[in-house]
């Protein structure tokens, strides 16, 4: 099926002098998770608000599941669920009351709305808190309730605006599981995030937005490849063995012979003579790793370590926009973001 859940062309939104969204094109295939990645103020939320009929675009057009967001807003609204820091639930009502209200607004009878509320609270693990005032809810519980409220009508398209901002890693992982489950059940999800690893983990395709424009679009792998191939890093000691060549030179020769690239050298320091040097070469194919190791053994070069790394989305973002994604929560950072193969010497 080649149907697209969202087709937006040249979306523009201007606030005063600020072109918050400046010609955004998006094509979101049905049944996928689409990530919109960008720092605060990049125009992510404004874009979602236009797609969700909460803001009228100043330029361009968008179709959501075949319906024009400006001409057929009610048809669009019937097919979407919106969850964000702005589209939330009512603070003054209990979790159950909120879900009953939204159920009734969507045309359920009071009884059906109550049944639905109980089901959803169960599904999102909020049954125990059903009657508690929302002020006592943790951030994660609030976010789950927000999401539950968007799912009453089981909309085929769900907008999640920064679903995990401010959540602790464990709660964030729960939210990720929920998103994966929704997609497994056939929904399409458009999510915005400032977390690079979140886009990497969840999204089938990613659009990187900066200053109201899409600066890159593709799968996470596409984006990483666009920045550079994988890199092989070999660490060798600086001490020259008796009767041999300096290990760095020998290793560089071996790397050049296999990969055809000159290695970049980084001195890693260390106390006096015990320092080490890291040699980095771009790698076309991971197969070359074995060749490099064989060649180093043949040349009797001792190495201290070897690693294979792909550029992280962090580096991608830096390369594409010239600045890093701001406001990163250090706690939420995933140490395994960069896949690495560590080979002990």
């Amino acid at each position: 099926m080649t149907t697209n859940a969202i087709e937006a062309t040249g979306l523009v939104k201007v606030f005063g002098r600020n072109r918050a969204v400046d010609g955004v094109d998006l094509t979101v295939p049905t049944g996928s998770v689409y990530g919109v990645l960008g720092p605060n103020g990049a125009g992510k939320t404004t874009t979602i608000k236009m797609l969700a009929t909460l803001l009228r675009p100043d330029g361009g057009s968008a179709r959501v599941l075949g319906h024009d967001v400006v001409r057929e807003p009610q048809a669009v609204r019937a097919l979407i669920g919106v969850t964000g820091q702005y589209a939330s639930v009512d603070e003054d009502m209990s979790a159950t009351e909120n879900l009953v209200l939204f159920g009734r607004l969507l045309g359920l009878s009071t009884r059906a709305a109550r049944t639905k509320a109980v089901e959803l609270l169960e599904e999102f693990g909020l049954s125990d808190a059903a009657r508690r005032p929302l002020k006592q809810f943790s951030g994660g519980m609030r976010r789950r309730l927000d999401l539950a409220a968007s799912l009453i009508a089981r909309p085929p398209l769900i907008f999640l605006d920064e679903p995990t901002t401010g959540l602790d890693p464990r709660t964030r992982n729960q939210m990720w599981d929920t998103v994966r489950r929704l997609v497994a059940e056939g929904s399409t999800v458009l999510l915005t995030t400032q977390y690079l690893d979140e886009a990497d983990q969840l999204a089938d395709r990613i659009a990187v937005i900066d200053r109201g424009q899409v600066v890159a679009e593709g799968t996470a792998d596409d984006l990483k490849r666009s920045v550079g191939a994988q890199a092989l890093q070999v660490t060798v000691p600086t001490t020259t063995p008796p009767g041999g060549a300096p290990p760095a030179d020998a290793a560089a020769r071996a790397l050049a012979a296999v990969t055809g690239h000159d290695a970049a050298r980084t001195a890693l320091g260390g106390p006096d003579a015990d320092g080490s040097v890291r040699l980095t070469v771009p790698l076309e194919s991971p197969d070359h790793v074995a060749d490099v190791l064989l060649r180093l053994r043949e040349d009797r070069v001792d190495i201290l370590g070897l690693s294979l790394s792909r550029p992280s989305l962090d580096e991608v973002f830096l390369t594409l926009t010239g600045h890093t994604a701001e406001q990163q929560d250090p706690e939420a950072e995933n140490p395994n973001e960069t896949p690495k193969v560590q080979v002990p010497a």
Binding site: L54, G66, A78, G84, A87, L106, A149, G322
Partner: protein
Amino acid sequence: MTAATLTTAPAAPSPTSAPVPPPAGGVAAAARQSVAMAWRGLVKIRRTPEQLFDVTLQPIIFTLMFTYIFGGAIAGSVQDYLPTIIPGILVQTVITTSVVTGTQLREDMDKGVFDRFRSLPIARIAPLAGALLADSVRYLIATTLTIVMGLIMGWRPGGGVLAVVGAGLLVMFVAWAVSWIWAFVGMIARTASSVQGISMLIMFPLTFLSNAFVPADTLPGWLRSFVQVNPVSHLVTAVRELTGTGTATSEVTWTLVGAALVVVVLAPLAVRAYMRKA
């Protein structure tokens, strides 16, 4: 930096329409959604009963205060003043209460939940109509308390029970109609306190420059002519006649026509302004 669009757009996807949602359902659905929104308003009132302070304390305090302060001076005695002041204070209190609708709506709209309402396939008028409907409870409390206070102080309306109930309903209906004005002000004003300011600026002179507290014929000519055209005076007169003699005069008709006119003009304006905020 270059805009690295890495993939060509998917080949000519003809967007097949997803199953068309059921039609919005017209007036019946809008009414049902408004009732659901009114239920929300009632839940909130039940959750935070302190917001009812104005409609509970004001009728008690104002009725006591004005009756004992002005009674002797205006009517010779407190007892003789009651048939004049109770309808007056009833109108003044209940109509002024309608201002709260606008300020609360303004506050409410700044909350995230209103964005969710906008993202739902519901009638645009429902969030407004629901809020206004729920506020009828406030008018009911204020009306009942003022009438009961009057009875306690010795007011014996000659019109009978039905006429008094009718007068109460008339006042509540007018307050509901007037609350559309404040709903509209709430939509176009920037903050809740500016809604409060604007509406008090209008309501204060309108309720006091009427025949609510004093007979109009004691006033200087220029003021008397204003008081006589003031719609609040017509309502007060209607209520006085209803409660005093049980007769519904043309004042009732004019009041109803005026109130309906306010709704017909202001409700669409308020909904338009609400939608523009979206």
